[in-house]
C-alpha cells in the first residue's frame, strides 16, 4: 500500500528512474541483438551443418580454410567403427555475380548429396542431385538481403575460374564468417577450387561425420583420430566456436552486457538507497505505529518490481522496433527472444540485489525516532 501509492504520487522521481531502466533494458536488448546477430553471422552455417563431428586435417588448427583431407583419409573415416556416415565438405571463398551487376562476397560449401554435410533445411526449391554443376542452393541471407530466388541465374567467380549456375533452392542455414553462403555439389566445388591444379588434389576441406545411433560422440572423435593418421576431430559446436574471431567477439559482447547489468544494478540500487535515506524519519514513524522492517522492505521490493516492469514495458518494444528498422541496413541485429527474456529477468534480479543496501538501512531505523529527541 505504501510502495505503490508513493510511486503514484511521486511521478517525476519514479518517472525518471523508470526512464533510466527503460534505457538500460533497451541497451541490454540491443547488445543482445548485436551479439546474437554477430555470433550467428560468424558461425551460423557451421552450427547448422548436418552432422555430429567435423574431421580436420591435423595441421589446419581447426581452420576450414587451411584444412585439406585426401580421399584415403575420407575412406578411413567412413570405415571407423561407430561412424554411421561420413561426407566430404569443401570450403571456398568466392564472389557471386548476379544478373543485376552486383558483386557479393560469399562462402561456398561443396557437399556430396545424400551424405552428411548436405543442408537439410531447404525451404524453397529443390535439392541438388549428385554431380550437378549447374545449380546451387543459397542461404536465407542471400534470399532476404539480396533478393535471390530459385530460378535466378548467377555467376560464381573464384580465383581464375568462373561458372554460370542457376539457383535451385533456398536453405535456412546462416552465414559463415559474416559472409553469406551458397551450397554446391562437391563436384562443382572441386571444379572451382582446383581449376588450375593438375595432378593430385585434396578430396575435401573437412569430413563431416554422423555418429551411429547411441554412440558416444566424444569417444568416437578420439577413435577417429586414432584410426586415421593426421586428423583432428571435434564436435560440430566446438568447430563453430573455432571459427576465427568468434570467441573474441563473444567475449567483447559479454563484457559489455556485464557492464550493462552492473550499471543497471547501481542505478536502481542507488536510487532506492537515496530515497530510503530521505525517508528515514517516515520509516521510523510507520515502524512506531506497527509496520515491521519486513513490511517496509516488501513495499520497497514492490516499487523495484514495478519500476523494472514499467521500464521493460517501455524499453523492450523500443528495442524491437529499432531492430526491425535496422535490419534492412544492418542485418547483424537479431534479438534472440529466449536469451533476451533471461537477460531482462537477470537485470530485475540484480536490481533486487541492489535493494539490499536499502534493506540494511531500513532494518537499522529505530522507531523511537518518531518521538523526536529521547535523552
Amino acid at each position: 500500500m505504501l510502495g505503490i501509492n508513493e510511486l503514484r504520487r511521486k511521478k517525476v522521481q519514479f518517472g525518471l528512474i523508470t526512464a533510466m531502466v527503460a534505457l538500460v533494458v533497451y541497451l541490454l536488448l540491443m547488445l543482445n541483438g548485436l551479439g546474437n546477430g554477430l555470433h550467428q553471422a560468424m558461425i551460423g552455417s557451421v552450427a547448422g551443418l548436418n552432422g555430429d563431428l567435423v574431421v580436420y586435417d591435423e595441421d589446419a588448427n581447426l581452420s576450414v580454410q587451411r584444412s585439406e583431407v585426401d580421399a584415403a583419409a575420407l575412406a578411413a573415416v567412413a570405415r571407423t567403427e561407430g561412424v554411421a556416415a561420413a561426407g566430404p565438405l569443401g570450403h571456398l571463398t568466392l564472389t557471386l555475380l548476379p544478373e543485376d551487376g552486383r558483386r557479393i562476397d560469399a562462402t561456398l560449401w561443396g557437399y556430396e548429396p545424400g551424405l552428411p554435410g548436405e543442408p537439410d533445411t531447404l525451404r524453397e526449391g529443390n535439392p541438388l542431385a549428385p554431380g550437378d554443376v549447374e545449380h546451387v542452393l543459397v542461404d536465407r541471407s542471400l534470399a532476404e538481403e539480396y533478393g535471390l530466388r530459385a530460378g535466378d541465374a548467377l555467376t560464381l567467380r573464384a580465383g581464375g575460374a568462373e561458372r554460370r549456375v542457376t539457383v535451385r533452392g533456398v536453405v535456412s542455414e546462416g552465414k559463415y564468417a559474416a559472409l553469406p553462403t551458397v551450397y554446391a555439389t562437391l563436384t562443382l566445388w572441386d571444379a572451382l577450387k582446383h581449376a588450375n591444379v593438375t595432378g593430385e588434389r585434396p578430396a575435401a576441406s573437412v569430413v563431416l561425420v554422423r555418429a551411429a545411433e547411441g554412440a558416444d560422440v566424444g569417444a568416437l572423435a578420439r577413435r577417429i583420430d586414432g584410426a586415421v593418421p593426421g586428423t583432428q576431430t571435434v564436435s560440430r559446436d566446438a568447430a563453430a566456436l573455432a571459427v576465427g574471431g568468434v570467441r573474441e567477439q563473444d567475449s567483447v559482447v559479454y563484457g559489455m552486457l556485464g557492464f550493462t547489468y552492473l550499471v543497471g544494478t547501481l542505478i536502481v540500487g542507488v536510487f532506492f538507497y537515496v530515497l530510503t535515506l530521505q525517508k528515514i524519519g517516515q520509516i521510523g514513524v510507520v515502524k512506531a505505529v506497527g509496520a515491521s522492517t519486513w513490511y517496509v522492505f516488501r513495499e520497497l521490493v514492490k516499487q523495484v518490481l514495478a519500476v523494472m516492469l514499467l521500464g521493460t514495458a517501455v524499453g523492450a518494444p523500443l528495442a524491437a522496433l529499432t531492430v526491425q528498422a535496422l535490419r534492412r541496413q544492418m542485418p547483424l541485429f537479431d534479438i534472440d527472444p529466449g536469451s533476451a527474456v533471461v537477460g531482462v529477468l537477470l537485470l530485475a534480479a540484480t536490481a533486487l540485489l541492489g535493494t539490499l543496501f536499502s534493506a540494511r538501512q531500513i532494518a537499522r531505523v529505530d522507531p523511537i525516532i518518531a518521538l523526536g529527541q529521547v535523552q
Binding site: 500500500m1 512506531a288 505505529v289 506497527g290 515491521s292 518521538l371
Partner: protein, 229 residues
C-alpha cells in the same frame, strides 16, 4: 485486569559514574477509560517514560503490565506486534506519511497488521468522519491544516482499536485554540471508547482535560493528582 500497571520503572543510560537515571522507579496505575497527563520540564524523563510505555524502548528495570501482560521485556518482533495491536500513538508533529492521503494514512495501520479488509476500510472512513474529516479523505497531508493533520493522526492512533493511546506533546505545533480543540477531540475519542490515554505535555492549558496529573521531576514521579472535571 484490563488496566495499565507500571511498577518501579527505571531507565538508566550509560554506566558507572556517567550513568544517568532518566526514569527512576516510577510506579502508577491507570484504569480503563482513564486519561492521564504527564507533566514536567524538558529533560525530566517524560518522553523516555512514554517510549517505554509504547514498547519503543526497553526499560532497565521494572514492569509494565498492559492488560495483565508484562510488556517490559519483549523481543523486537513482539514489540512490533504489540504496537500493531495494542498501542496507538499521536506524535508531536503529526508525522503522517506525506504521500498517502488522510484515508490511506489511517488505513495503512490495518495494512501493517495484514488486515486491510472491508471492515478496516469502513472503520478508517468512520473514524475520519467522526473527527470531522469526512470531506478530507482524499487530501494529502500537505493539503491539510495543522489541526486537521493532528486529527488524522488521532484517527490513525485509534485505527487498530488499541488498549492504550500515547500522545506526545499534541499541541506543540498548534495555536492555543486549535490545541484545545484537538485535545478535546482526543479525550472524547479515547474516553468514549473506554480506552486508556497518556498524554505527555508541558502545556498547562490542556491539562484540565485529564483525569489524572502525573508530575515528573528528574525522572521521578513527584505527584499523582486526581482531577475532577
Amino acid at each position: 485486569m484490563g488496566g495499565l500497571e507500571v511498577r518501579a520503572l527505571t531507565k538508566v543510560y550509560g554506566s558507572g559514574r556517567t550513568a544517568v537515571r532518566a526514569v527512576d522507579g516510577v510506579s502508577f496505575r491507570l484504569e480503563e477509560g482513564e486519561f492521564a497527563a504527564v507533566l514536567g520540564p524538558s529533560g525530566s524523563g517524560k518522553t523516555t517514560l512514554l517510549a517505554m510505555l509504547g514498547a519503543l524502548l526497553q526499560p532497565t528495570e521494572g514492569e509494565i503490565l498492559l492488560g495483565g501482560r508484562d510488556i517490559a521485556r519483549l523481543s523486537e518482533r513482539e514489540r512490533t506486534r504489540l504496537r500493531q495491536r495494542e498501542i496507538g500513538f499521536v506524535f508531536q508533529s503529526y508525522n503522517l506519511v506525506s504521500y498517502l492521503t488522510a484515508y490511506e494514512n489511517v488505513l495503512a495501520v490495518a495494512d501493517f497488521a495484514g488486515r486491510k479488509d472491508r471492515a478496516a476500510r469502513e472503520r478508517a472512513r468512520a473514524l475520519l468522519e467522526e473527527l470531522g474529516l469526512g470531506d478530507r479523505l482524499g487530501f494529502l497531508p500537505a493539503e491539510l491544516s495543522g489541526g486537521e493533520r493532528q486529527r488524522v493522526a488521532i484517527a490513525r492512533a485509534l485505527m487498530n482499536d488499541p488498549r492504550l493511546v500515547l500522545v506526545d506533546e499534541p499541541t506543540a505545533s498548534l495555536d492555543s485554540q486549535r490545541g484545545r480543540q484537538v485535545v478535546e477531540a482526543l479525550v472524547a475519542e479515547i474516553k468514549g471508547r473506554g480506552k486508556m490515554g497518556i498524554m505527555v505535555t508541558h502545556d498547562e492549558r490542556v491539562t484540565g482535560y485529564a483525569d489524572r496529573l502525573l508530575r515528573i521531576q528528574d525522572g521521578r514521579l513527584a505527584a499523582d493528582v486526581p482531577q475532577r472535571r
